[in-house]
């Protein structure tokens, strides 16, 4: 439905949304339409939702999310009758980062609740609390939610223990799973051949930079860096210069030096991937035969050393030691501090559409910088050749339905219908174009003309989406292992890195050795044989 038309009807007839839905349902027009007309309708919806609220019209609000949710209800209506879930109550656990995630889901699902009659209760968690809450629920058998927003790294813990509900076939059809980018297809989202996950996000870290810092007449006078060495050199050269946009001190690359409940480790991984992810070897975190950590091999030590060099040079903004990844992206880069950043793709969509961003017009994107040498762990030797490896950090969020709904068919269908609504093809296009916490993950998200029509300029969108597509499709992508307790490894590494960055270890090697020692302990605690088996399976070995 056209937004203007929708607004007009609402204003003129004082209809509420539910009444209007009833009216349109009563017409039954959708069901009667020939297929080509439906496809046409879907194209219209995609174009129309992208206009809410419109690029440059400020951050979307709850009203916008509800509007989008309502306009994307078509797929739900074809599988669920109005009021079919009357009396059903579901509990949804997810995040509340940056007032996104669950905040959007609430809006998206409000019209769904109105149509189906189901009621959703919410458990909101901060990113840093998320892992602990989930692990505790799993270990103590107290799963008190029916639907969860969860990342693929936890699939080993949740799906492996039979805690989730298998996806019914009608859901697969409703969400059009064939449209997913390749790396999100099985085995991601599946366990023992069964499908469990409705993807709502595709994750990789991409390189965001300030275009006004690069080029012949720019403050650096350099080209956009291709390697981490260049990144470091430029960052050092910028000391003492002035930011062309804000007039504050200019800075180069923004490493988050403070932990983020384990998520901060991805940012060292970005640097390390270039040195450590050899194209001939899928493993770069552990030796898959023994689970011996590779984190203290020369490649990782080089990455840690690179960060330490910048600390030593005083190249970071003040108090960087107290900056976590949330700070580097949202309080620094988007607000005009620093010129280079690695982050998930939502920095790209927020740069243009978030109220707090000042860099929308000067931001450019690329894939994770590479290195002029790569470490071959099998041969224990450096190879002097250019290497790059985008980091598929977290493999994206998905919606999973828990086994708590089994045994109650109505509740089960309701839970899956809600999950399918959130993972719908059209709705996900909107979520990848506006601030949502999610980035493009379907082949259909990469139709540049749709974005252009929404108000993005073609260059920007090709640049931004291109960086995502290039990362997803990269032959040497560094993919995260789906092993139990992966965040424990990351969290302990954050603590040791913090010590290293604060100068409490003698060298980068000592810091890396401390991480490796801590990882060995965790592996022993969780069970080495089991970890080896799961790690190998996740690498496809």
């Amino acid at each position: 439905m056209k937004v203007e038309l929708y607004n007009y009807i609402k204003a003129a007839q004082k209809m509420n949304r539910r009444q209007m839905l009833k009216g349109s349902a009563a017409l039954g027009a959708v069901a009667m339409m020939p297929k080509s007309a439906m496809a046409q309708d879907s194209e219209n919806i995609r174009a129309e939702i992208l206009k809410i609220p419109g690029v440059g019209a400020g951050s979307p609000t709850d009203g916008d999310w509800q509007k989008v949710g309502e306009m994307c209800l078509g797929a739900t209506k074809s599988n669920v009758a109005e009021g079919e879930f009357d009396g059903v109550e579901l509990t949804f656990m997810g995040l509340n980062n940056q007032n996104l995630h669950n905040f959007l889901f609430r809006g998206f699902l409000k019209p769904w609740e109105a149509y189906t009659g189901a009621k959703i209760n919410w458990i909101d968690l901060a990113q840093a609390d998320y892992n602990a809450r989930l692990q505790q629920s799993i270990a103590t058998g107290t799963v008190d939610f029916d639907i969860i927003e969860m990342g693929a790294p936890f699939e080993g813990d949740v799906l492996g223990k039979g805690l989730a509900s298998e996806m019914p076939d009608w859901v697969k059809e409703q969400i059009d799973m064939d449209d997913y980018v390749d790396y999100l297809k099985a085995p991601v989202g599946t366990w023992d051949g069964k499908t469990y996950r409705v993807s709502i996000d595709g994750d990789c870290h991409t390189f965001a930079y300030r275009k006004d810092y690069f080029g012949p007449d720019s403050i650096t006078g350099r080209e956009v860096p291709k390697t981490w060495k260049d990144v470091n050199d430029i960052t050092k050269e910028l000391i003492g210069k002035e930011d062309p946009l804000t007039g504050l001190p200019a800075h180069g690359y923004l490493d988050p030096l403070k932990g983020w409940g384990g998520f901060g480790f991805y940012f060292l991984e970005n640097r390390a991937a270039a040195y450590a992810k050899h194209p001939d070897n899928p493993a770069w975190l552990f030796d898959p035969e023994t689970m011996t950590p590779m984190v203290n091999n020369p490649a990782w030590v080089q990455a840690i050393q690179d960060v330490m060099d910048l600390i030593e040079a005083g190249a970071y903004p003040t108090d960087q030691i107290n900056a976590d990844p949330g700070t580097t992206a949202f309080q620094q880069f988007l607000a005009g501090t620093g010129s280079m950043l690695m982050w998930w793709g939502d920095v790209g969509s927020s740069a243009r559409t978030s109220d707090t961003s000042v860099v929308g017009d000067v931001v450019g994107f690329g894939i994770n910088p590479g290195a002029d040498k790569v470490y071959n762990a099998k041969a224990s030797a450096w190879e002097e050749t250019y290497n790059e490896a985008p980091n598929m950090a977290y493999i994206g969020w998905g919606i999973y339905v828990m086994a708590t709904v089994e045994g109650d068919e109505k509740k089960k269908k309701a839970a899956w219908s809600a999950a399918a609504h959130l993972g719908g093809k059209d709705l996900s296009l909107w979520a990848s174009a506006y601030p949502s916490g999610f980035q493009p993950y379907r082949n259909s998200h990469f139709r540049f003309e749709e974005w252009e029509e929404a108000g993005y300029d073609r260059d920007y969108v090709e640049d931004y989406l291109g960086s995502n597509a290039d990362s997803y499709n990269h032959k040497n992508a560094a993919i995260e292992p789906r092993i139990p307790g992966i965040f424990q490894y990351y969290s302990v590494a954050e603590d040791e890195l913090a010590k290293g960055y604060a100068g409490q270890y003698g060298s980068a090697q000592e810091t890396a050795d401390a991480i490796a020692a801590a990882w060995e302990k965790i592996t022993d605690q969780i069970g080495r044989d089991n970890q080896i088996a799961v790690y190998k399976a996740s690498l496809g070995l």
């Binding site: 692990q135 932990g259 424990q488 302990v492 913090a498 010590k499 069970g527």
Partner: protein, 367 residues
Amino acid sequence: MTSDGDLLHTVTAENISDSRKRLGKLLVWGTAALFLMLALLQALHEAGRVSAGFETWRPVLYAYMLWATSLCVAQVIVNGEKGKRTLFVLPAALFVISLVVFPLLFALYISFTDWNLASPTGPQPNGWDNMAQMWNDGFYWNALKNMVYYVLAVSVEYVIAFGLALLLNAQIRARKFFRVVFLLPLMLSPVAVSWMIGKSMLEVRFGPISRIIRELGGEPSFFSNPEIARFMIMAMDAWTFIPFMMIMLLAGLQALPKEVIEASKVDGATGWQSFKEVIFPLMLPVSVTAIVIRIIFKLKLADIIINVTSGGPGGATDSVTSFIFREYRDRSNVGYGTLLAIIYLVLIVIFVTALLKLVSRWMERPA
């Protein structure tokens, strides 16, 4: 019970039959046997020794509650009126055992296991491994060292609180207003303080305090240098809790006998002399109480640290509690985390007991 002799405290003279006594004992021992049997069965089931058993420990809990109820009922059956008197205390005692003693013992057991929430095998006893790990854990010792600094800061807080209490005890204008205003920080949650001050006002780029410092030509940096970061944490914590000490000291000051102070003035004591020789010594008991309670609060310091620095930079602001929080929550390392907490509990008990002993000896010392 006899009906002869001194019956002053006897409400009823009951003759409880042997069969009734037997019934009471049977009730207690019967339910106890049921509880122990179920517990044993479930333990063997969990250990994989027998196939029969329950999915959860809940039936064992119900058996325990049945036993506890029977124990209470049996008191009346066996002892009559005397048993009713026991009932005034017994449920409370059982309550304490269930909710304090048992969890403590359970925690003690957990602390000698390798329980990691991600481990598919659950908790497995691992002897003294956790203890050895703690012994070699630089983060834990570092946190303990920081606690010494944090506790020492109480002395400064005490001086400030005493000064404020003296001011508010004096005849100043708008005294009641100031009393309320000075109490406000105490009413705020430390989490709110850490966000409002640590994460907002002191935020390097946008925070108003940072901007003022920048305007004045300085370069704001509150949490990069270990010493400054630790000081900032101390300051935020002090800001929240100085009013607490202040209000205790103020109550003490107001309860001081006016005659003694007036007598000292009549004898020609100056303000400082009357403070040093009269007020301060008289305030010692209150001061000691305030300091001890404050130290106990301080030993639990965690929320501000977790929110503002996560223990950084490099562990400079870590408290034992904030470290255990990371170990337990971020790393799901329940066994080791519990051991650290138990050891910390033992250290606190020893420290506070020694402190109280020392203080009482010192206070009893003849002047």
